[in-house]
């Protein structure tokens, strides 16, 4: 339920305008629905033509529209209005969420990658004559040494520069008392450079400058892919969150309204909350009758009514009229903070997960180093001499270089996440994908996951619905909106007046009609239920309209699909037992528990984790701790910020069926990654003994290294799920 910004006459978007160096203002919008060249020109032309706008540029890949205003204090409200009339809903970014973080690590990696690419190609250019010499072509010793020196002059500085990220990381991990994958890489590169220099000076035969740089180049490609993966998921996640109102309407002493970021709200501030918006911070109701929907907070589907002076909690949805509330807490101290602590505890247990690549490195590192050491010792003992023995040991280190291993996982994961991204699944990290593949038990939340999370009109005669809709279209109450949805587009009644918390009155065909609570409509009976409305003419019979939170259309198919994949399915809900039992039956889930608090849910997940790898799917604040504590967590795009943060994956497309796709792709990605490891192991089993026997020369090393990386990358592209 993305909260839209209500641009009332008092709405103010100055909070979103960032001044730039030339004194102009800049606003970023997230525009939805732009797909083609026509959209670009339509949007840019319309926005640039607006008064006060100097330039507009749309990024089609990210959907971000950057608008330049001629003054830093400019008002960008009319931009949203203009985009809306064009048919592209747009939301301004929260300045905090959209803050462009200087991607220092990314810049460094790409610089190193460029230098390594240059070094590899140019050092190799001088290596080609040397390789030709290896195959009996005419190459005098003087020319060979000259080529080796040239190769050294180009290759060595590039290797040192491009290797710095690895050297630093290796040093950090060694000081921490353990060895990561960067340790063998660093040792290998440094030893290779040293031995190549000594061979060049001693006028020897083998110099591996080009091999050292191309090794780094291939490894940096893997690193860069991994970085890209994390960065893209992060920025897409930030986009999603930016859509969820990060601002609140604060009233000043004169009662004028200004939109301010949540972080600026202090206890004691007066805030206005429009119908359909969320309560921004914990507060006390000062004016207006509050009918609040707590479904994202507790999972309860029935709204609660809070009188003036009552407390309301951040995150609840305002269903009734305009409210004024006084903040009793800043956003950091709101009820949300308690949940955040639970989430943190859950996330800690998850951080103990060891990634596939690290598990492979733990085996790989000691084996390779032992093999190289063995080669040196045995070679020396059998009478090769220390120089030849050392060259062979270095050859072992080079050919067993972990570049295939370093590419194996990132290449697979970037292929898998790009695929999932196009299908509307946002994966936050590669580790999340690995964990999802291991899952064997799925826990579903009810409200907002299995069900739509909003009331739907139950069986009613179309004629009555069509008439009731004439009144219902005027209201933002969810029950009224359910009627409007059921009736479709249409006109509105005349003289419509909405009485907050009571109902809507209007004139239809010259007669006064009412839609609302039993008391408001003068209904003959009242069950007191919150999930019904009454409709009727003041002087005529009254009709009861009933509502229920409907099951998602693909819920049953998704549950069946999960079972077909051998996964156990269970429902944990905070709602009442009756409602949960109905939804569980309809979805075909046998195991369910109802009435759970957030802590209960987290505890249930922890208990299940003893025997299972649990996937949690939830959207509410009451699910956030469970999402963080489970082996893997998925949140729908309609979920609250806290839940999206706690989850590993966010569904940006409507519907549940994408969960199946995510599991299929994750499992396929795991298979591809394991195949890649298998291939790397096989390759090393052949290459390492060959290097020990002295069969490897610089040419063979260069060929084997790039060949194995190519095979691994091609295999990664085979990632796929069921279509």
């Amino acid at each position: 339920m993305a909260v839209t910004h209500d641009l009332g006459p008092a709405g103010d978007m100055r909070a979103f305008v960032k001044p730039d160096v030339r004194g102009h203002g800049r606003v970023d919008f997230l525009v939805r629905g732009a797909r083609c060249a026509g959209c670009i020109s339509k949007i840019e032309k319309a926005v640039s033509a607006l008064p006060g706008v100097t330039a507009a540029r749309l990024n089609l890949s990210t959907g971000r529209l950057t608008v330049e205003l001629d003054t830093a204090g400019g008002d960008a409200r009319h931009v949203v209005v203009a985009l809306d009339t064009l048919g592209y809903p747009a939301t301004p970014f929260d300045p905090a969420a959209a803050r462009v973080r200087a991607d220092v690590e990314g810049r460094r990696l790409i610089l190193c990658l460029a230098v390594a690419g240059f070094g590899a190609m140019n050092a190799m250019m001088f290596s080609v004559p040397i390789w030709a010499g290896l195959f009996g072509q005419e190459l005098g010793p003087a020319t060979r040494v000259l080529m080796m020196w040239m190769s050294a002059i180009v290759g060595a500085p590039c290797a040192v520069f491009a290797g710095m990220p690895f050297f630093e990381s290796a040093w950090r991990s060694l000081r921490g008392g353990h060895a990561n994958m960067d340790v063998p890489i660093s040792v290998g590169v440094i030893l290779t450079l040293v031995i190549s220099f000594s061979e060049t000076i001693l006028r020897g035969r083998d110099a591996y400058f080009d091999a050292a740089v191309s090794l780094l180049f291939l490894l940096l490609v893997g690193r860069w892919l991994d970085h890209l993966l994390r960065g893209r998921a992060r920025s897409a996640a930030a986009d999603l969150l930016a859509l969820q109102s990060p601002t609140a309407a604060r009233l000043d002493a004169e009662g004028a309204e200004a939109l301010v970021p949540l972080s600026e709200i202090r206890p004691g501030d007066q805030l206005r909350v429009r119908p359909g918006d969320r309560i921004p911070v914990d507060g006390v109701i000062e004016a207006g009758l509050a009918e609040l929907d707590n479904s994202l907070l507790t999972g309860e589907t029935t709204p609660v009514i809070i009188p003036q002076g009552g407390n309301c909690r951040a995150g609840a949805l305002n269903l009734s009229g305009v409210l004024v509330l006084r903040a009793v807490a800043g956003s950091e101290d709101s009820a949300l903070a308690a949940v955040a602590r639970l989430v943190e505890a859950g996330a800690q247990s998850r951080s103990r997960y060891v990634r596939l690549a690290d598990r492979a490195a733990a085996i790989y590192v000691p084996v390779v180093h032992a093999a190289a050491l063995l080669t040196f010792c045995v070679g020396w003992m059998v009478g090769l001499g220390p120089r030849e023995a050392l060259i062979r040991a270095v050859a072992v280190l080079i050919v067993t270089c972990p570049c295939a291993l370093g590419l194996a996982v990132p290449a697979v994961q970037i292929a898998a996440t790009s695929r999932l991204f196009r299908r509307g699944i946002l994966v936050k990290s590669g580790a999340a994908l690995e964990r999802l593949a291991e899952v064997d038990h799925v826990v579903l939340d009810k409200t907002g996951v299995l069900t739509e999370g909003r009331p739907e009109l139950l069986d009613a005669s179309p004629a009555i619905v069509a008439r009731a809709a004439l009144l219902a279209r005027a209201s933002r109450h969810p029950l009224a909106q359910a009627i409007a949805r059921a009736a479709g587009e249409g006109p509105m009644a005349e003289d419509v007046v909405e009485n907050p918390g009571q109902g809507v009155e209007g004139v239809i065909e010259g007669r006064t009609a009412r839609l609302g609570r039993a008391g408001f409509v003068d209904a003959p009976e009242s069950s007191g239920s919150e999930s019904e409305l009454w409709f009727g003419f003041v002087d005529g019979p009254k009709v009861r309209l009933r509502f229920a939170d409907a099951l998602r259309s693909d819920a049953r198919a998704t549950v069946d699909g999960l079972k077909a994949r051998g996964l156990g399915v269970e429902i944990l809900s905070g709602d009442l037992a009756g409602a949960v039992s109905v939804a569980a039956d309809a979805a075909g889930v046998a195991t369910w528990r109802a009435g759970l608090t957030p802590a209960d849910k987290a505890a249930a997940i922890a208990a299940l984790s003893g025997s299972h790898k649990v996937l949690m799917v939830g959207d509410g604040l009451n699910d956030a701790a469970a999402l963080a504590g489970a082996h893997a967590g998925i949140a729908p795009g309609t979920a609250l910020e806290a839940s999206q943060n706690a989850a590993d994956m966010v569904l940006t497309a409507p519907g549940l069926a994408t969960i199946l796709e995510a599991i299929d792709v994750a499992r396929s990605a795991r298979r591809r990654a394991l195949e890649n490891f298998g291939f790397a192991a096989l390759y090393n089993l052949i290459a390492a003994p060959a290097a020990m026997l002295g069969l490897i020369n610089p040419f063979v090393a260069a060929l084997a290294m790039s060949g194995s990386s190519l095979v691994v990358t091609l295999n990664a592209l085979r990632v796929g799920g069921r279509r």
Binding site: A37, I40, L58, N59, L60, S61, L111, A114, N122, M125
Partner: protein, 50 residues
């Protein structure tokens, strides 16, 4: 054979030029919006009379 002393540094310089060109395109944001770049070529430019 002496020509190699001229050609070798020259080729390295060409390589460096390519690296500089790549970093320049990167800094200019040419890789920020692939889809947009592909679509923009189709937009009619109304300023030029035809």
């Amino acid at each position: 054979m002496n020509i190699i002393f001229l050609l070798a540094p020259f080729s390295v310089a060409l390589g460096l030029l390519a690296v500089a060109a790549f970093l320049w395109t990167l800094k200019k944001g040419q890789y920020d919006d692939f889809e947009g770049a592909a679509a923009r070529i189709l937009i009619e430019d109304e300023d030029t009379p035809d």
